[in-house]
C-alpha cells in the first residue's frame, strides 16, 4: 500500500540480540541503587520516620525522607515534588527512598523503613454526582464544554431518542520497560539515562527542579521500551534518581517495579459517560449531548477529556459536550494511549449503534447520513475527511453487505455470533522542533534531532522522510535521536511525533539541499531548521483530523460468557503513510489495545485501602497471543496538502479509538444484550445471557 517506504526498524538487530541498552542497563562503574518506600495510607500526614534499622543494614548508603531531602524548585506537576513534605495524597505515594550498594539491599532496607501516619478518611470513589465535582470555566465555551443551539430542548422534542450511560474502568499503560533512570552528577552537571517520551522536556524539567542551567543537563534515551503516554511527562523516578545520585555522590539507578508503576506512573481515569442522541425518523441527528465524569488526583489536575472526539464526528444543529472532574485521594491520572478519544468514542459509537438498532437502520448508513460537510461546530472545512470512504472500504472488505441486523439469532454450537462496526477519529497535531541535516564527504547524510523512539520505529521513519527529501537511498541516511544534546524537539505523544519531527527534518534537508552545489568538502556541509514559526503560524482555517472505521466479529459462549474475537479489521484515513511496515504494526497494536479495553483491561480500585489491586500482569489482563486472531489493518490513499510537508496525519493512537465499540457492538449483535460497562469479562457477561 502507498507509503514513502516500507523498511524494517534500523535498530531491529540491536534489539533482538540484546545489544540495545535501555535506561538502567547502561553499565557505569560505581553505580548505587535506589528503592522507593511508598505510603500505606491514602490520605494523611506522616508523623514519624524510623530509619535506624534501614540505615544499620550493611550496604545502605542513605535513606532519603522529606526530613533530609534537598528542597526542589516547585514545578506545576505536583508529582515531581518528590519528598517535599509529609503530606500523603494517595496510597503508594513515595514517602522515602533508600540508596544502597545493591538492588537487593536497597529493597530490603526499604522494607525496614518504618513510617507512622496520622491517617485521614480518604475518598477514592468516582460518582457522577460527587459533591466535589467541578467544571472549570463553567460559563465559557472551551475544552471543558462546548454548546451550540438548544441541545436539551431539541432532545425533548426529538422523535427518536437514546439516553444511556457508559462506564469505563481505570486502565494502566503497562509499557514493557518500566520507568527507569540512571542519574550521574559531575559537579553541577547532570546526566541521566532515562526512559521517557521526550528528552528535551525531561531536560527542561530537571533544569527547573534542580535550578540548573539547561545546558548542564543531558538526557540520553536511545531506546525506549514503550510508554503509551505514561512517559509523556517526566515521572518521580527521574527526579528521585538525580536527587539520590547527588546525595550519595555516585551514579544511581532507579527502576520502578511493575507493581510500583500502578501508583506512580499514571493511568487512564475511569469514566462515567452519559450520551443523549436525538434524531429524526430518517436517522438524522438533531441533537448530541455527551457528558463525561472523570477523576483526578489532588496532586495534579488532569482531565481525560472524553467528550472531545464527539465535537468533530457527526452533524447535529444542537449539541453540547462537557466533562467534569472530581479530585479524589487517588494516584494521579495521566495520558494513556488516545486519552479521551478512546473512552469517549467507546461511548459515542456505542450510542450510535443503539440508535441504529432503534431506527432499524444499518449502522454504517446511519453514520453516512450524519456526515457533516465541515466541522460540526463551526463549519470550517476539514483538511481531508474520509470517514465514509473508510466505512465503505471496510464494509466491502469485511463482507458487511449481507449482514442480517437482527440481534441474538446466529448460533454456532453453544456460541452466539455477531458483527459490529464503529468509527474512529484522532486530531492531527504537531509541535515545533529543530533539526540539522549534514551531507558527509562520503556521500552519506546525518540527521540530528532530539526525537525519541518509543518502539514505534521513529528513527526509521525519520530516515525515510529525510531520504525522500534528499532524494537519497534511506541506507545512506543516519538518524541520531534520543539525546537532549541534539536539536530540541517535542514529545512522542498525541500521535504528533512524526509530524512535528518530520517537518523539521524536511526543512533541514531542504536547507541542506539549497546549500549543496554538488561538491561536499571533507568537513561536510550542515544545515539547520527551526519550525517554530511554521508550526505556530499554521492557521486553523482547516479542521485537521484522522478518521477510520473498525469492524469486528465476535463469538460469545452462552454457557460461560467468554467472548472471542475471530476477526477484526481497521481501515484508516490518516494522510500519507511513512513506513508501511511499521505503520501496520502501529495500527494493529492500537487495535489489540482496543480489544483489551473491550474485553479485559481493568484496574480494580480497593475502596477500603485506596489503591489499585490488580497491580501485576497476572491480574491486569492485556490480550495474550491466543486472544488475537485474524487481525488486519489497511489504509486509504489519502492526500492532504494542509497538514505538513509530508502530508502525514499521525497513526499512533487512532488504532485504539473506536475499536472497543466495534467489539461491544458486535456483542450486542451476537447476544441482543447491550453491555455499557467495560470490560466485558465472563463475570459481567454471563449473568446477562
Amino acid at each position: 500500500m502507498n507509503a514513502i517506504g516500507s523498511r524494517s526498524r534500523v535498530e531491529g538487530r540491536e534489539k533482538v540480540t540484546g545489544e540495545a541498552r535501555y535506561a538502567v542497563e547502561h553499565p557505569v562503574p560505581g553505580a548505587a541503587y535506589a528503592w522507593v518506600v511508598q505510603s500505606t495510607v491514602a490520605k494523611g500526614e506522616i508523623t514519624a520516620f524510623d530509619t535506624a534499622d534501614a540505615e544499620a543494614l550493611p550496604g545502605v548508603l542513605t535513606v532519603l525522607t522529606p526530613d533530609n531531602a534537598p528542597e526542589l524548585a516547585p514545578v506545576s506537576d505536583g508529582e515531581l515534588a518528590v519528598l517535599q513534605g509529609r503530606k500523603v495524597s494517595y496510597r503508594g505515594q513515595i514517602v522515602a527512598a533508600v540508596v544502597a550498594e545493591t538492588l537487593e539491599t536497597a529493597r530490603e532496607a526499604a522494607r525496614l523503613v518504618r513510617v507512622t501516619y496520622a491517617a485521614r478518611r480518604h475518598d477514592v470513589r468516582l460518582t457522577p454526582d460527587h459533591p466535589g465535582r467541578y467544571t472549570p470555566d463553567e460559563a465559557e465555551d472551551g475544552p471543558w464544554q462546548a454548546r451550540q443551539g438548544d441541545p436539551e430542548d431539541a432532545f425533548r422534542a426529538a422523535p427518536v431518542r437514546i439516553d444511556c450511560t457508559f462506564t469505563t474502568p481505570a486502565e494502566h499503560n503497562n509499557p514493557m520497560e518500566p520507568h527507569a533512570t540512571l542519574a550521574a552528577w559531575d559537579g553541577d552537571a547532570l546526566t541521566v539515562h532515562d526512559s521517557n517520551q521526550g528528552p528535551s522536556t525531561v531536560r527542561s524539567t530537571l533544569a527547573k527542579v534542580f535550578e540548573l542551567d539547561p545546558a548542564r543537563v543531558r538526557v540520553i534515551s536511545p531506546h525506549i521500551g514503550g510508554g503509551f503516554g505514561s512517559k509523556g511527562t517526566p515521572r518521580p523516578n527521574v527526579v528521585l534518581a538525580a536527587m539520590a545520585a547527588r546525595a550519595v555522590g555516585r551514579p544511581v539507578k532507579l527502576a520502578f517495579t511493575r507493581r510500583q508503576m500502578y501508583a506512580l506512573t499514571g493511568y487512564r481515569s475511569p469514566t462515567v459517560q452519559r450520551v443523549r442522541l436525538g434524531a429524526a425518523e430518517d436517522g438524522r441527528l438533531t441533537t448530541i449531548i455527551h457528558e463525561s465524569f472523570e477523576q483526578s488526583s489532588t496532586v495534579r489536575e488532569f482531565a481525560e477529556e472524553s467528550t472531545t472526539p464527539t465535537r468533530v464526528m457527526y452533524r447535529a444543529p444542537n449539541r453540547r459536550t462537557a466533562y467534569h472532574l472530581t479530585r479524589l485521594d487517588v494516584p494521579s491520572t495521566s495520558w494513556m494511549r488516545a486519552p479521551g478519544d478512546a473512552p469517549g468514542m467507546f461511548a459515542l459509537e456505542s450510542a450510535m449503534d443503539e440508535l441504529a438498532v432503534v431506527l432499524g437502520l444499518d449502522p454504517i448508513e446511519l453514520r453516512v447520513r450524519n456526515e457533516p460537510d465541515g466541522h460540526p461546530e463551526d463549519g470550517r472545512p476539514f483538511s481531508s475527511r474520509n470517514l465514509v470512504a473508510c466505512l465503505r472500504e471496510g464494509a466491502a472488505r469485511f463482507g458487511w453487505s449481507d449482514r442480517d441486523p437482527t440481534p441474538g439469532v446466529r448460533r454456532v454450537g453453544r456460541r452466539l455470533v455477531g458483527t459490529g462496526v464503529a468509527a474512529a477519529t484522532y486530531p492531527v497535531l504537531r509541535s515545533p522542533a529543530q533539526a540539522t541535516a549534514r551531507a558527509n564527504a562520503d556521500g552519506s547524510y546525518t540527521v540530528r534531532i532530539a526525537a525519541i523512539d518509543l518502539g514505534t520505529g521513529a528513527r526509521t521513519a525519520l530516515g525515510l522522510i529525510a531520504a525522500e527529501t534528499l532524494k537519497a537511498d534511506p541506507a545512506q541516511v543516519t538518524v541520531e535521536i534520543g539525546d537532549s544534546d541534539l536539536p530540541r524537539a517535542g514529545l512522542a505523544g498525541g500521535s504528533a511525533g512524526t509530524a512535528g519531527w518530520g517537518t523539521a527534518v524536511v526543512r533541514a534537508c531542504e536547507a541542506l539541499l539549497s546549500k549543496l552545489n554538488g561538491h561536499v568538502p571533507p568537513e561536510g556541509v550542515e544545515a539547520a531548521a527551526d519550525t517554530t514559526e511554521e508550526v505556530k503560524g499554521q492557521g486553523d482555517e482547516y479542521a485537521r483530523h484522522s478518521f477510520g472505521a473498525h469492524f469486528a466479529e465476535v463469538e460469545v459462549d452462552v454457557d460461560t460468557g467468554e467472548i472471542r474475537v475471530p476477526r477484526m479489521l481497521g481501515v484508516f484515513a490518516t494522510g500519507r503513510i511513512v513506513n508501511a511496515k511499521a505503520a501496520r504494526s502501529q495500527f494493529l497494536g492500537g487495535m489489540i489495545m482496543g480489544l483489551g479495553m473491550a474485553l479485559m483491561e481493568e484496574s480494580v480500585l480497593d475502596e477500603a485501602f485506596g489503591d489499585h489491586l490488580t497491580a501485576d500482569l497476572a491480574q491486569y489482563h492485556i490480550p495474550a497471543n491466543a486472544d488475537v486472531r485474524d487481525l488486519d489493518a489497511v489504509w486509504l490513499d489519502e492526500h492532504d496538502p494542509h497538514v505538513n510537508p509530508m502530508g502525514t496525519k499521525g497513526i499512533g493512537e487512532i488504532g485504539i479509538v473506536g475499536a472497543a465499540a466495534a467489539i461491544t457492538n458486535a456483542v450486542h449483535h451476537a447476544t441482543g444484550v447491550r453491555f455499557r460497562t467495560l470490560p466485558l469479562t465472563p463475570p459481567r457477561v454471563l449473568p446477562e445471557l
Binding site: E108, T560, F609, A615, P683
Partner: protein, 324 residues
C-alpha cells in the same frame, strides 16, 4: 528482599536434614521467588529439590503412574503415558501459566503454589492467610475471583492450581517424606479448607517433602475445561475436570472436580452420586450440579460462579457423553 542461602540437596534425606523453620524447598521458583520478592515469603534458606531423583514418570504394574515431584510441568504434559491415559491432566496443566513458566515449574511446586488473592500478595495489607489474626479484607473487598464453597469467616481464598483439579478428579495420592517417615496422602485429604487456620493450605507437616504423585488408572474419557478472563495465561474463574463412562445413554461412572471455587480443588461427589446410574440428560446434569452447589455461599461479587460452575458441569459431561 531478605538475604538467603541457597543449597542443593542430592537426596531426600539431605533435603529433610537441612530443612528448618526458616527453610523453604525450591522447585522451579516460579511462585516462591515471586513471593520472596514481594516479601510474603522470607526464608533464610532455600533448599533446591529439583536435583533429587524425583524427576521421572514411572508406569507401575497396577497401571498407575508415579509422577516425581521434580518433574517439570512441560515434561508431564509431553509424556506419552500421561497423554495416552489422562488427557484431562494434560489439558489441565497446559491450560495453566505459560510455556516458559511450565518449563520451569515442577509438579511439587505446582501442588503447593499459594493463592492468587491480591491481599495475600501485598504485605502492606492485612490477610489471615499471610499473617494469622490480621483479618480478611477480601470478604468486603475485591473477591470476584474467590471462593463460593467451603470458605470461612477467616478466609475466602481459592487454590489456583489447574493440575490439582485434574488430580482431584483422578483420585491421585500425594507421596511424601517427613521426619516421621513416608506418607501416602489421598489428594482429598491433602488440601484443607480454611476454617480458622487459613495459613495452612495443606495437611503437610512442617518440612515434609513431596516426593511424587501417584495417579491410578482411569478407564473413562476425560476432559478439562477452564474459563478465564482471556484466552490464555490467566487463572481460572471456574474450571472443571470431568470424566464419564456413559453406556447406552446412562452414566455408569463419573468424576467431577471444580477449580476456582474453593480453598482446595472441589471434588463434586454429590453431583457424581446423583448422576451415577441416571441417563445423561441436561436435566439430570443440571440436577446433579444443583445438588453440589446447594452448599455454596457466594460472596457479594462472585455469584456468577454458581451459574458458571453449573453450566460447566452440564456442558462438559454432555460433551463427554457425545464422544461415548
Amino acid at each position: 528482599m531478605r538475604p538467603f542461602a541457597y543449597e542443593r540437596a542430592a537426596t531426600a534425606e539431605e533435603a529433610l536434614a537441612r530443612c528448618d523453620e526458616e527453610t523453604r524447598y525450591l522447585g522451579g521458583g516460579t511462585n516462591l521467588v515471586d513471593l520472596m520478592r514481594l516479601g510474603v515469603e522470607r526464608p533464610a534458606r532455600l533448599v533446591d529439590v529439583t536435583r533429587l531423583p524425583h524427576d521421572r514418570i514411572e508406569e507401575r504394574s497396577s497401571g498407575a503412574l508415579r509422577i516425581g515431584a521434580a518433574v517439570r510441568n512441560s515434561d508431564l504434559t509431553a509424556h506419552p503415558a500421561v497423554r495416552r491415559h489422562h488427557p484431562m491432566l494434560v489439558q489441565a496443566v497446559l491450560s495453566g501459566a505459560s510455556g516458559q513458566i511450565r518449563n520451569q515449574a515442577t509438579v511439587g511446586g505446582n501442588l503447593l503454589q499459594r493463592t492468587r488473592c491480591s491481599y495475600f500478595q501485598d504485605i502492606t495489607k492485612p490477610c489471615n492467610k499471610r499473617e494469622p489474626g490480621t483479618g480478611c479484607p477480601a470478604i468486603d473487598g475485591e473477591h470476584h475471583n474467590l471462593a463460593i464453597l467451603g470458605h470461612s469467616e477467616s478466609c475466602v481464598a481459592t487454590h489456583p492450581s489447574d493440575m490439582a483439579v485434574a488430580l482431584a478428579a483422578l483420585d491421585a495420592t500425594v507421596l511424601t517424606r517427613g521426619r516421621g517417615g513416608e506418607r501416602a496422602i489421598p489428594l482429598a485429604d491433602f488440601y484443607r479448607l480454611p476454617g480458622s487456620h487459613p495459613e495452612r493450605d495443606t495437611t503437610l507437616e512442617p518440612g515434609e517433602l513431596v516426593t511424587a504423585v501417584e495417579v491410578p488408572p482411569l478407564a473413562m474419557p476425560s476432559r478439562y475445561r477452564k474459563v478465564r478472563e482471556r484466552a490464555s495465561f490467566a487463572f481460572a474463574l471456574v474450571s472443571i475436570a470431568a470424566a464419564a463412562d456413559v453406556r447406552d445413554g446412562v452414566v455408569r461412572d463419573c468424576r467431577i472436580a471444580l477449580g476456582g471455587v474453593a480453598h482446595r480443588p472441589w471434588r463434586a461427589r454429590r453431583a457424581e452420586d446423583h448422576l451415577r446410574g441416571r441417563p445423561l440428560t441436561r436435566e439430570n446434569l443440571a440436577g446433579a450440579a444443583d445438588q453440589e452447589l446447594a452448599a455454596a455461599h457466594p460472596l457479594r461479587d462472585n455469584a456468577y460462579k454458581l451459574r458458571l460452575a453449573r453450566n460447566l458441569i452440564v456442558r462438559t459431561l454432555l460433551e463427554l457423553g457425545e464422544r461415548a
